[in-house]
Every structure is written in structure tokens, then in C-alpha cells.
């Protein structure tokens, strides 16, 4: 298994280089270093000398991908792309275009993101599995039919509606929690309730239907019939056999997203003014801060690759029939 993991890690390098190139090209197609300088220096009374100086300080005065005036290897290495990309592979994110240390910012801002995403994931799993099991349990009854219809309706509604509607109903109308904001330590709890709840409700439709399908598939298998034939009750069959076997695809689906929890949610963090990595990325895009955009895309890619590797490993743990070769 170790050789398999090492091989997967080795495969990750060309993927990360590719992601970096795509991010780089897309960013510089839309923004030139001059545009970035103007954005950072402000729009009023900016002169060419200030722009040139700003670019020099950050290395944006170099050619973007190919330095034809340089010698030998420097044709590649003395470029914006190389200078900005190579350090990422040792997780040296460098400084943002506004001068702040990106690694420090990431270490600060991942906690608010985790404060939302981790409880959302855990509570969401509990709720969706419970609802999925309930619908599967009452399969074919009015509970199942109306539940599925409700799920489809909920799936069809935009996430923004849940956010704005939730803020209006629970924060403004019922006055139960703050509409938006965040705080540190224990005080953060009251601010996380609403985004977690909204995230949970927003995911009910799709997740419940998916889990219901998994459980129904399991319930149609031979071992379930055998268990019933042995005289086990419906609940015992469901909770001791169907649930355990149904958890295998659920677990592997969850493992893949675990590392991405650090990245947070772009829209939720923006609407609830949560200072996480999602809003960090959105801010960087709007401020044309390439250093942060590049770092966040790289970090996202790394985490996603880690997620995929963990998924493969989790298969071997939950299903003894699977071997990594």
C-alpha cells in the first residue's frame, strides 16, 4: 500500500504543475501586472513610476512565461511564472500583493472555515442518514413519497434563497441568532448556528435522496432477506445490517471532501461575514491579488489530491475485499 501511496503522490506533481499553469494563464489573460499595480496602488493620481516600482518590487516586471533576453535555464527560471510557482511546492506561499504573509493569513483564517464546515459535515451526515433511513424504512408509504417530493423541491431551490431566507426568518423575524458576523473562542458558537443550520437544510434534498437510494439498494440484497427470514425485526435489520453496509459508499464519499473543509465556503462566508478561507479567496479575486489566488488554488488542488488518496485508503479499511496494488 505504501508504494501505491508514493506512486499517487508522485502523480500529483504533474497535476499540480498543470493546475498552476492553468491558473496562471487564466489570471494573466484577464489581468496584466499593470492592472494589478493600479488595483493595489489605487486609481487616483497613480503615475507610471509608481506602477513600475511596484512591479519591480514584486517581480512582475519580468516576462510572464519565457524570458528570451536571459541566458540558458534562466529563460525559464527568470520569469514571473517560475519565480512565483516553484516555492509553492514547499508550501512557501510568500507574500500577498498587498504585502502580507499568505501562510500566516491561511493559518489564521482556516479556523473560522473549519468552525462552519466540520459541524456542518457531522450534523449533516447524521441528519441526512437519519432522513434517508426513515424514507427507506417507510418505502412506498405516503411518508416516502412526500419525503421524496419534498427533497426534489428542496434540491431545486437556490442556495442563496436558503441563506437570505434563513437570515430573514431565523435572524430577523424570530430573533433567535445574529444575522451575520463572527467572534473568537466560545463566542463564535452563536454565529455558527445559522450558517450550519442553513448549510444543513440546503443539503437535505440531494443528500437524503442519495442516501435513501443507497439504503434501498442494500435492502434489496439477499442478506437482508436472510436476516428477515431469521425473524429479525425491521429496525434491527435496518440499523444493524443495512446501515452498516450502506455506510461504505457514504464514508468513502465523505473522506474525499474532508481535506477540502479547510477551504470553506465562498458564498456562505461572504453572506455571514465569516473571516474564513472562502472569503479570503473571493476577496483576493476581486482585488486581483494573484499571489493569494495562486496560493489558494494550489492549496485547494493539494487538498483535493489528498482527499482522493484518503478515499482509496478508506476503501481498504471499510471493505476487506479491496487491496491497493
Amino acid at each position: 500500500m505504501i508504494s501505491y501511496i508514493l506512486r499517487r503522490i508522485a502523480y500529483a506533481f504533474p497535476i499540480l504543475v498543470g493546475v498552476n499553469i492553468i491558473t496562471f494563464v487564466l489570471f494573466f489573460v484577464v489581468n496584466t501586472p499593470d492592472d494589478m499595480a493600479r488595483m493595489q496602488l489605487g486609481m487616483k493620481r497613480v503615475n507610471d513610476a509608481a506602477i513600475t516600482k511596484w512591479k519591480e518590487e514584486r517581480g512582475y516586471d519580468k516576462p510572464i512565461l519565457w524570458n528570451s533576453s536571459a541566458e540558458s535555464a534562466e529563460k525559464i527560471t527568470d520569469t514571473i511564472f517560475f519565480q512565483n510557482s516553484v516555492k509553492l511546492f514547499v508550501f512557501d506561499f510568500g507574500r500577498s500583493d498587498s504585502g502580507r504573509d499568505i501562510g500566516h493569513d491561511i493559518s489564521q483564517r482556516m479556523w473560522p472555515s473549519l468552525a462552519i464546515t466540520v459541524p456542518s459535515l457531522i450534523l449533516g451526515l447524521l441528519a441526512y442518514i437519519s432522513f434517508g433511513l426513515t424514507l427507506a424504512f417507510f418505502r412506498g408509504s405516503y411518508v416516502d413519497v412526500s419525503g421524496v417530493i419534498l427533497c426534489v423541491i428542496m434540491m431545486s431551490i437556490s442556495g442563496l434563497f436558503y441563506i437570505i431566507g434563513g437570515q430573514y426568518l431565523i435572524g430577523k423575524f424570530l430573533h433567535l441568532v445574529p444575522i451575520s458576523g463572527y467572534d473568537t473562542g466560545v463566542n463564535a458558537i452563536k454565529f455558527t448556528i445559522l450558517p450550519i443550520l442553513i448549510g444543513l437544510i440546503g443539503g437535505i434534498g440531494a443528500s437524503t435522496r442519495w442516501y435513501r437510494t443507497i439504503f434501498l439498494e442494500e435492502m434489496g440484497k439477499d442478506y437482508v432477506r436472510t436476516a428477515k427470514a431469521k425473524g429479525l425485526s425491521e429496525t434491527r435489520v435496518l440499523y444493524h445490517h443495512v446501515l452498516m453496509n450502506g455506510l461504505i459508499p457514504i464514508l468513502t464519499g465523505v473522506v474525499v471532501i474532508l481535506p477540502s473543509l479547510f477551504i470553506g465556503s465562498l458564498i456562505v462566508e461572504s453572506f455571514f461575514a465569516i473571516p474564513g478561507l472562502g472569503s479570503y479567496t473571493i476577496d483576493a479575486i476581486s482585488r486581483q491579488d494573484f499571489a493569494i489566488v495562486r496560493s489558494m488554488v494550489f492549496l485547494g488542488s493539494v487538498l483535493y489530491i489528498i482527499g482522493l488518496i484518503l478515499t482509496d485508503i478508506s476503501y481498504t479499511l471499510v471493505d476487506p475485499r479491496v487491496r491497493l496494488n
Partner: protein, 731 residues
Amino acid sequence: MTKHIKIIKRSISEYSAISLAFLCLLLLCTGCDNSPWNNPYPNQDSAKNIYYDSFSERPKHLDPVSSYSSNEYVFLGQIYEPPLQYHFLKRPYELIPLTATGLPKPQYFDKEGKLLEEDANPENIDRVKYKVSIKPDILYQPHPAFAKNASGKYLYHDLNAKKLSNIHSLSDFDTVGTRKLLAIDYVYQIKRMAHPRVHSPISGLMAKYILGLDEFAAKLSAVEKDKPGSSFIDLNDYDLPGARVIDDTTFEITLSQKYPQFLYWLSMSFFAPMPWEAEYFYSQEGMTEKNITLDWYPVGTGPFMLSENNPNLRMVLERNPNFRGEAFPSEGESGDQESGLLADAGKKMPFIDKAIYSLEKESIPAWNKFLQGYYDTSGIVSDSFDQAVQFNLQGDAELTDEMQEKGIRLLTAVTTSTSYMGFNMADEVIGGDSERARLLRRAISITVDYEEYISIFANGRGKPAQGPIPPGIFGNVQGETGINPYVYQWQGDKPVRHSIEQAKELLAQAGYPDGRDKINGKQLVLNLDSPAAGPGSKASFDWMRKQFAKLGINLVIRATDYNRFQEKMRKGTAQIFQWGWNADYPDPENFFFLLYGPNAKIGHNGENAANYKNAEFDELFNQMKSMSNSTERQVVIDKMVEIVRRDAPWLWGFHPVGFSLHHQWYKNAKPNLMANNKLKYKRIEPRLRTENRTLWNQPVWWPIALLIILTIILLLPAIISYRRKETESIL
């Protein structure tokens, strides 16, 4: 049957017990405290003298020599103190001393160094000197940069990465100190404008005026090349002829030409004092890596200091314990006494202890929190406008009943800014100095109905412009004599736009009868270049097309991204564009320079976006800018306004009207569009705020209880059915 009834009873009793327990828990929680649950602040802060506000865009720079943005001035204006400030109440805007002992008077000298009269010909003036005396005994806020040990040695001036291992923010330094404000600090800051690592946006402009600033910048650039990384450059070691210290409380600024507007700059944070200790402290090894920089942690003498700088969450200003105190103004303009604005006259400021600004990226949550009493003031976004404001039969804005019931107050003010549509004067169709182009532009000026635009797209929050100068700035003329005769005529008591027939006639004279070229018969096609795109802008684009269509002109919208739009503007390839300007200071020069030839975008990269050039106008501009406000200056201004109205390089557009709301517990509210240091005048009544917050935000539980009951009712038959099935025997 009996068995079924038992099952039903058992189910009901079990679920009722669970529901009851849940409701009891909720009631228990509600009974814990009477304070609102949705309070985003700690409950123990409710009675405190804290001002609450929000901000939507994080500040980019908090270094006073780099910052040039209103969202940064909200913080900087309270921390740093330039020599001058604007009077809070008087109108027209009036400069008064802040740390200075009085308004500095310019002294004019000729080439031989002979003192000239105040009204000397500007061409004979070779040097202008401003001697600024500052008040003694002004202290800086507590800051580790000033901390010294018993032997007088700075505690934190020999830091390195190792010593900083346990330091993560400025508050982690155990000891703080202070020192007196000195004249050298102001000189130091002026020198920083030329610092190669600082990027002051006004360095180019100031180099034109402050004697020797350009050479000083070149000298510092050479020095910087020998200094590694971000190591400290002590600017006190280098002389700048245009700024020198006379004694501890006096310094002198020398300009190379007459520039009366310079005094206005002395009220901006670019000219705030900077102690060398601060710059040294922040330049030490390891500080930048910890994000502890001067651009992040300001050091000032003002009434407040930044105690928390977390622009991703909140910015907190706290009362500076070393602040000397300042008296609330005892005179204002007429009506201020009656409206209670002089109630605090003579009282020592600041009134509040702390100001908390929370990040609100989205307008809806910010608006709702204002209505709940969690923000003391608010602007009005378009989405909420109808909820907050209605227009009465006279066309005056007033608050809706909902707002009035909450005791919310409305303030309006015509801003000292202008939002216009420019014609690129370098364009061969719409631009140029020919009579054809001039008539074409005038025809369009009549046709685009800005009154309608303001009504539809700005909720009535605008005043149609008659020229480049907004109301409230010297040179703006109100009433019949102040209208633009090329677009308006005076009817009754208000200006009325010329008829569309008159516009068509002008268009025909320009050679485009019914919008068609009279030579080739083709329809005239014009292009509006805009950085706005997407569905949000479609309505205004459609409206604009409709306006041009009245003349038979086909307006093509060339929407592009912001960067490409800026590039088009710089290169002069845009044809018609929408632009705006917000006054730096209340002087007509700050608007006329937008039309001054040598400030054109093309070739000069200036702020004259229309690339307008008129020799007569430029000459008058040079004459006007060095005049003080007087009847003679007004005559020159009138001539300049007439020239640009005739040439019509802009559709003059409108001057936005700012609407702001505040709660009844917020006192001393008066719009002041020039001052940046307004926080010290604000007063809060926390008791009234707490009462209203509690009243407005009591938790509402019945919908939750209803939801639980409904869920039980819906699930009960299924549960009963399941239990019946489970207990049924085959036989």
C-alpha cells in the same frame, strides 16, 4: 381495537414527552437572560459607551502616506492628526487648526529672496513658505515603539526573528511608551512621500510643488539600493529643502510656486506626523513576516487608537488615553442651535470610548442589523430604499412610517462629487473642436434626460449638474443665473431641459438630420464604453440607448471588464464613457483640473479622462488656481464654466445626494463631506439603545413550536402504522 388504542396512546405519550422536554429546554434558555439572543456583541457591552458601525471593504493601506481611500480614512482620520482640519459644523467648509496653533499664512518670495505682497503676480513668485507651529504637549498613543527601560534605552529597537517568536500581534508586546509630538515628525512624514518603498499616491503631485522632493526621491532610491530588504532608512539623515525643522514645535514647508490649495492638503492624513521610532520599530527583522507593519498598525496622536485590526472581521478603535482633549465647537451655521447640534458646545471630546466596525460584505444583513439596533447608522442601498424612504407630494424625501416608529432619523446632503458622461475629445466623430462635433455633443446633452435617470436609477438621490462644480464648492452658482443655457431654460422657479426638437435641430446643423449622415445617409452610430456588464446594468444601458434613439442615433454598448476599460481610457480608444470624481478638497480647482489640457489621459496619464483641451480654458485655469476665493476669482470661474458648457466635453450628469440614517440614540449627526475625523464629535446614549434593542429583538418561539407539532402530527400515523405492523401476528 384495544391494542391499537394502546399503541396510539403510547406513541402520543412518548413523542409528547420528547416535545415537552425540548420546549422546556427552550423556555429554560429564554428565561436565562432578558437580553436578545440575536445580539452579535457580548451582552456585558450593552450598557457601554460604544459606537457600532459596519464596513464593506477591507482597508488596503493604513499607512497615512499611502492611503487615499475613503474607506481607509474612516479609521485613519481618527488616529492620525495632520496640522489642520475642517470645522465640523460651519458651511461653506472652513479650515481650522488641529495640531497647529493657527492657520499657516503663505509668504511669497521672488528669485532674489525678496518678500512679496500677498497679491503679487504668481509669475514673479519663486518660493512660497508656510511656517507651521504645532501645539506643545501633544502625546502619541501608547505604543511599543516608544517603550524604554529605566536607563532610557528603547526596549524594542533590537528585535529579531528569535525575539519575536512569541509575538503575533502588536498587543503581544508587554511594555508601551509614548513621547511628545515634535515638528520633526511632520517633516519626516513629508520626506516619506519620496520613500521608494512606500508608494505615496500624491508623490508625483507634491513633487511639482514641494521644493526638491523629486531630487530627494532620487537620492533615497540610490540609498535604498545599498540597504538590504526592508532595513530602516533614517530619513532624518537626509535633508529635503522643501521641509525643514525650525524648532521642536515649528517646521517650514517651501513650495516652488504659488498653490493656495496646499492648505487643504495639510488637512489630509498624507501630512500627518510620523515618528521615526515607529518606522524603525516596524522595519526590524521578522516584523514583516509576522504581518506587523506600519501599514497595518498605525501610530498617531488622535483621539482614538486602533486596538484591533482584523479587517476580515472587525476593526476596533479605542479612546487614546494620551489624547489631550478637544472642545466641541461652540458655533456653527444657522439652524445648528435649533437642531441641537450645539448642545455639547465646549464639552471635551471624544464622547465615546470605543468604536466597533464590523465587516459586512452583503448589504442585506447590514441593513437588517441596523433595523435591529445593532448598528447606530446606515446608508440606504437600492434594495431597501422603498422600505426606508418615501417622497411626499412636494417631492421631498421623508422616512416611511416603519422608520419613524423606530425613531430613526434621516440626513441628506448633496455630495461634493460629480457623476458624468464624458466624450473622448480625441475621437474623430464625437470629439474635437469643430462646430459640427460641438453641436452634436450639445444635441446629445439636451437629449439624455438626467432627471429621469436620477428618478429611475438613483431613487431620486441626485441633483442634475449644470457644470463641473458641485453645490457647496466655491464657484457653483445656484438659481437662474447658474443654469447651463445650452441644455436648460429657466421656467417658473426651476430649470427645464430644452425640447427634443431643439436637440434635433442642433443635430441637423451638425450634419446629422434625423440621426443620419447627410452626406452618405447612414445612421450615426456611437459607442458607449463601460466596465459594467451583466443583467444589473442592462436596464440602464437600455435606457441610455433609448435616449440616443430619440435623436435617431444608434448607441452601441461596448461592455468590457474593468481592466480593459481602464486600458481603453488610457489609450484614448473609448468614445463615450461614464465617470465620476469625488472632491479631495472644497475648491473648484479640484474639479476644473479634470478638464485641464496637460492633465489629459492620452500622453499625460492624468485625470482629464475626456482628453479635453482648450487653450483659453487652460490659461484661465492657471490664473484661477492661484487665486483666493473672491469676486475676481468668481468672474474667472464663470468664464471657465461658460467655455466648457459651450464645448460640452461632458454630459454634466448629476451630483449624487447622500442619504444616511441613524438611530435616535446617536447624537451630533451632521453631514460633513470633507472631514475625515468625525468620530470624536459623535455621542451615543447607550441606555436608550439597550432598551430599544431589547424591545425590538425578543425571541419569537411560536413558529418553532408550531413546526414541531406539525411534524409530530404528520409522522404520527406512520409511526402508529409501523408499530401496528410490528406487533401484528401472522396467525
